[in-house]
C-alpha cells in the first residue's frame, strides 16, 4: 500500500467507511505479529495482543497525523501493549522470565526497528527457505514453532535437549543464509 493509498484509506475510515480498516489490518498484521512474536512465544498471546493493537489504533485513529508512518505508529502501540501484557501476566516470577525481560530491555527497541524495516515480501521468503531445510532441521524448527514439547523431539531423535536446541540453532543459521542469498 502506498503512502497515498494509506492516507486516503485512513481519511475515508474517519469519514465513516470503517470497513476499509480491514485493508490496513491486512497490510500490517504480518510485521506487527512478527514483532510481538519476537517477545511473546505463545501464539495465542500474540494473536490476542495483535488484535488489541489494531483495536487501539482504530480507536485513536483521529490522533494519527498524516505524513507520519502508520506502521511506526502501530509499532509504538505494540510496544506499549507488550509492556502492559508482561506486567499484567506476572511474568517476572521465574529466573528465565526475568532473564528474558532483561534481554528484551536491551534489544527490544532494535527488534522493533528491524522488524519495521523488513519488507513483507522478505518475510514471505522465509516460507520458501523453511522448505529448503534438510528434513531433520525442518522437523525441529517446525516442531518448536508449533510449540511441541522438546521432550518429544528428544525421544524421536534419541538425543538430549541440548542437542535439539543445537539443531534449532543450525536450522536458524541455514535459514538466515538462505535469506541472505535470496535477498
Amino acid at each position: 500500500m502506498t503512502t497515498e493509498e494509506q492516507e486516503q484509506t485512513i481519511r475515508r475510515i474517519l469519514q465513516g467507511e470503517v470497513e476499509l480498516y480491514a485493508a490496513l489490518v491486512r497490510e500490517y498484521s504480518l510485521p506487527i505479529r512478527g514483532y510481538l512474536s519476537a517477545r511473546l512465544h505463545q501464539r495465542e498471546e500474540v494473536e490476542d495482543l495483535a488484535q488489541e493493537v489494531f483495536l487501539a489504533a482504530y480507536r485513536s485513529l483521529d490522533k494519527y497525523r498524516p505524513g507520519e508512518s502508520f506502521l511506526a505508529w502501530l509499532f509504538g502501540i505494540s510496544q506499549n501493549k507488550i509492556l502492559q501484557h508482561l506486567r499484567s501476566a506476572h511474568r517476572r516470577d521465574s529466573a528465565m522470565e526475568r532473564f528474558h525481560q532483561f534481554v528484551w530491555d536491551q534489544v527490544g527497541q532494535g527488534v522493533r526497528d528491524m522488524t519495521r524495516e523488513t519488507p513483507g515480501w522478505q518475510m514471505e521468503r522465509l516460507s520458501h527457505c523453511l522448505e529448503r531445510l534438510p528434513a531433520r532441521l525442518s522437523r525441529v524448527v517446525r516442531a518448536l514453532l508449533r510449540e511441541e514439547k522438546v521432550e518429544n523431539l528428544c525421544t524421536e531423535f534419541g538425543v538430549s535437549r541440548g542437542a535439539i536446541y543445537t539443531l534449532h540453532w543450525r536450522a536458524v543459521r541455514q535459514l538466515r543464509q538462505c535469506m541472505g542469498g535470496e535477498a
Binding site: T2, V18, A23, R33, G34, H100, Y165
Partner: protein
C-alpha cells in the same frame, strides 16, 4: 573473544529464547556480555527479530472456540483475525448508538431464529451410506451418477448400465440397471427393480437385501437379487449362505452356494438352481474398475503433458510432478518467468482424483500453499480441480487469492448463499482502485451432492470481450460484464487460506490441479480441461 565463544553465547541465549533453561551462572554471564558488548547485542537483536518473523510467517492454526468467546461476535462469517477486529470495532461504534443497536439485535435474533428453522444446510455427508466406486461408462447409468459420488439414505435409480457402490458397512453392491433401490442404512437396502450383487465381508454379516415381501439376510456370502420382474424376484447364492425371511417374520429356507429361490409374493417360494452367469462377474468388475481408473489417469497425464506446453501459462501445478517428501509443487509452465513453484506451508498430501495421483488436503486455517506470480494481467484464466469436504458450509472458503492490499488483487472463493438452494456458489472478487471491491458472484455452482466429489472450477477475465466468465465442471455458469477495467496484480499467491492472519475463510477440502493463464481461455478449452481431468 573468539568467534567460536561468541557463537556459543549466542547459541545459549537463543536456545533460552526457544525454551531451554540456563543455569544462574550462565544467565549472569550472558547478561554481562549483553551490556558490555555492543556487537553481541546487535547480533542478538537481529536474531530475535528474525525468530519473531519466522514465528509470524509460519501460519498458525487458530483456536476457534477461544476466539469466538473472546469476541462474542454474532457474525458467523467473521471469526477470523481481521474480521474479528472489524467486528469489535463496529461493536465499539454501536456502544454510542444503543437504541439502533438494540433494534439491530432484535432483527438479527429474529433472522437467526428464522434461519436456523428454515435455511437449507448441506448435511448430506452426515447421512452418507455409500460411495460410488465404479460407473460403467460404455453404458452410463443415471446422468447424475459419478465415481466418488457419496450417497445418502433414500431412493437411488440406475437407468441403464452397471455401477458399483461401497456401503459404509463394507458391503459392495454391484447394480445392473434399470434398477431402483432404496438405501435404508449401510446394512439394509431395498431392491425394487434391477439386479444387485452383494459382496458381504465377514464383519458385515447380517446385511439385508429386501425385495418384495422378503428379507434376505446374509450369513457370510456373495449373493444376488434379480428383481427384473418385480413380482417375481429371485435370490441367487453365489457363495456362502443366506437366510430368507418373509416380511411377517416367518423364516424361509436357508440357501447355500449354488442355490436360488424365486420369491414371488406368495408364501410358497420356488427353489431353482443358481444362475451366476446372469450377474456381473465380480472379479471382472474389479478388473474393469482398475482398468477404468488407469485409463482415465493416463488420459489425464497425456492432457497434462500437452497443457504444460502452453506458453501462455504463468503457473501450472499438476500436483503430480512432485518430489515425494518435498513440500514443493513444481510449476510446469514452459515459460513461467515470474511464476514460482508452490510451497506447501500447511496441509498434507493425499490421494487425488486417481489412486496414482496426489492432491493437497486443506483442513485448518494454517493449511495453505504459497507462491509468487509477480505479473500484472489484463486477461487471465484460473482453472482448478477441488473437492469440498466440509459437512456444513456456512462461510466463504478461499480457493486462491493474492493477499496484498490495493487495486488489482484477486480473491476467488467458494461462497455460501443463505437464500438459494442449492446454496453454494463461487465469488471472483477483484479489488478496484481506492480499495473498492468488484465482485462477480455465481450461485448454485455446487449442489449438495457435489460435496465430497471432485469439481472442476474456472474463472476467466477477457478484456477484449469485456466479460468475466465462471465455470463449473466444464460448463459456463456465469457470463458477466466487466464492471471496472481493472488489471490484476498477481504478486504473492495463497491457495487454500487467507493471507497471513487467522482466517476462517480457509478451504476445507482438497485441490488437485491448478492452471493460471496469462490469457482468457475459450469455453472449449475449459470443457477439455474438465473432460480430460474428470475422475
Amino acid at each position: 573473544m573468539s568467534a567460536e565463544t561468541e557463537d556459543q553465547d549466542l547459541h545459549d541465549l537463543l536456545a533460552s529464547w526457544a525454551g531451554a533453561d540456563l543455569s544462574p551462572e550462565r544467565i549472569s554471564e550472558l547478561q554481562q556480555r549483553l551490556v558490555s558488548d555492543p556487537v553481541f547485542r546487535a547480533t542478538v537483536t537481529r536474531e530475535i527479530a528474525f525468530l519473531g518473523q519466522l514465528r509470524a510467517v509460519h501460519a498458525p492454526n487458530p483456536r476457534w472456540n477461544e476466539l469466538e468467546s473472546i469476541w462474542g461476535a454474532p457474525n458467523e462469517w467473521a471469526s477470523d483475525f481481521e474480521s474479528q477486529t472489524m467486528g469489535k470495532i463496529l461493536a465499539f461504534r454501536r456502544v454510542r448508538r444503543v437504541l439502533a443497536w438494540a433494534a439491530t439485535l432484535l432483527v438479527f435474533v429474529a433472522g437467526a431464529i428464522w434461519y436456523f428453522l428454515n435455511a437449507p444446510q448441506q448435511k448430506e455427508i452426515l447421512n452418507e451410506l455409500a460411495v460410488l466406486n465404479y460407473v460403467d461408462r460404455d453404458a452410463p447409468s443415471d446422468s447424475g451418477n459419478a465415481v466418488f459420488q457419496r450417497l445418502g439414505a433414500g431412493p437411488f435409480k440406475v437407468s441403464e448400465g452397471m455401477l458399483q457402490m461401497r456401503m459404509l458397512s463394507g458391503v459392495t453392491l454391484t447394480v445392473t440397471g434399470p434398477a431402483e433401490l432404496d438405501l435404508r442404512s449401510a446394512m439394509e437396502v431395498v431392491v425394487t427393480a434391477g439386479k444387485v450383487v452383494a459382496d458381504v465381508p465377514p464383519f458385515a454379516q447380517g446385511f439385508t437385501l429386501r425385495s418384495g415381501s422378503w428379507n434376505l439376510v446374509d450369513r457370510g456370502t456373495v449373493f444376488a437379487v434379480d428383481a427384473s420382474e418385480p413380482l417375481k424376484p429371485e435370490v441367487h447364492v453365489l457363495e456362502g449362505k443366506v437366510e430368507t425371511h418373509r416380511g411377517s417374520g416367518v423364516a424361509g429356507p436357508v440357501l447355500t452356494s449354488g442355490q436360488a429361490l424365486q420369491l414371488g409374493d406368495s408364501r410358497n417360494a420356488k427353489p431353482m438352481p443358481a444362475r451366476p452367469e446372469r450377474f456381473p462377474d465380480l472379479a471382472e468388475v474389479s478388473r474393469r474398475v482398475a482398468q477404468d481408473r488407469e485409463n482415465r489417469f493416463r488420459r489425464w497425464q497425456r492432457a497434462a503433458d500437452a497443457l504444460a506446453q502452453d506458453a501462455s501459462l504463468l503457473i501450472y501445478y499438476d500436483f503430480n510432478t512432485v518430489d515425494r517428501g518435498s513440500n514443493t509443487l513444481i510449476n510446469r509452465a514452459p515459460k513461467p518467468q515470474n511464476g514460482s513453484n508452490g510451497i506447501l506451508v500447511g496441509g498434507d498430501w493425499i490421494e487425488g482424483r486417481w489412486p496414482e495421483k496426489r492432491a493437497v488436503r486443506f483442513q485448518h486455517p494454517g493449511d495453505l500453499v504459497r507462491a509468487l506470480a509477480q505479473e500484472t494481467l489484463t486477461d487471465f484464466s484460473f482453472l482448478t480441480w477441488v473437492r469440498l469436504d466440509a459437512e456444513k458450509i456456512e462461510r466463504p472458503m478461499s480457493i486462491l487469492l493474492s493477499p496484498k492490499v490495493g487495486s488489482g488483487q484477486v480473491y476467488w472463493l467458494v461462497w455460501p448463499y443463505r437464500s438459494a438452494n442449492p446454496a453454494l456458489g463461487m465469488h471472483l472478487t477483484i479489488t478496484a482502485d481506492s480499495l473498492r471491491d468488484v465482485a462477480y458472484p455465481e450461485t448454485a455452482t455446487f449442489s449438495s451432492p457435489t460435496l465430497g466429489r471432485w469439481v472442476q472450477l474456472g474463472a476467466v477475465q477477457n478484456w477484449g470481450s469485456g466479460r468475466v466468465q465462471l465455470f463449473s465442471n466444464g460448463v459456463k455458469v456465469a457470463d458477466l460484464p466487466i464492471r471496472e477495467s481493472t488489471q490484476v496484480r498477481l504478486e504473492e499467491l495463497v491457495l487454500g487460506s487467507w493471507g497471513y492472519t487467522k482466517e476462517t475463510k480457509n478451504f476445507v477440502g482438497a485441490m488437485d490441479e491448478l492452471a493460471i493463464f496469462r490469457r482468457a481461455v475459450s469455453e472449449s478449452e475449459v470443457a477439455a480441461f474438465y473432460a480430460n481431468g474428470r475422475p
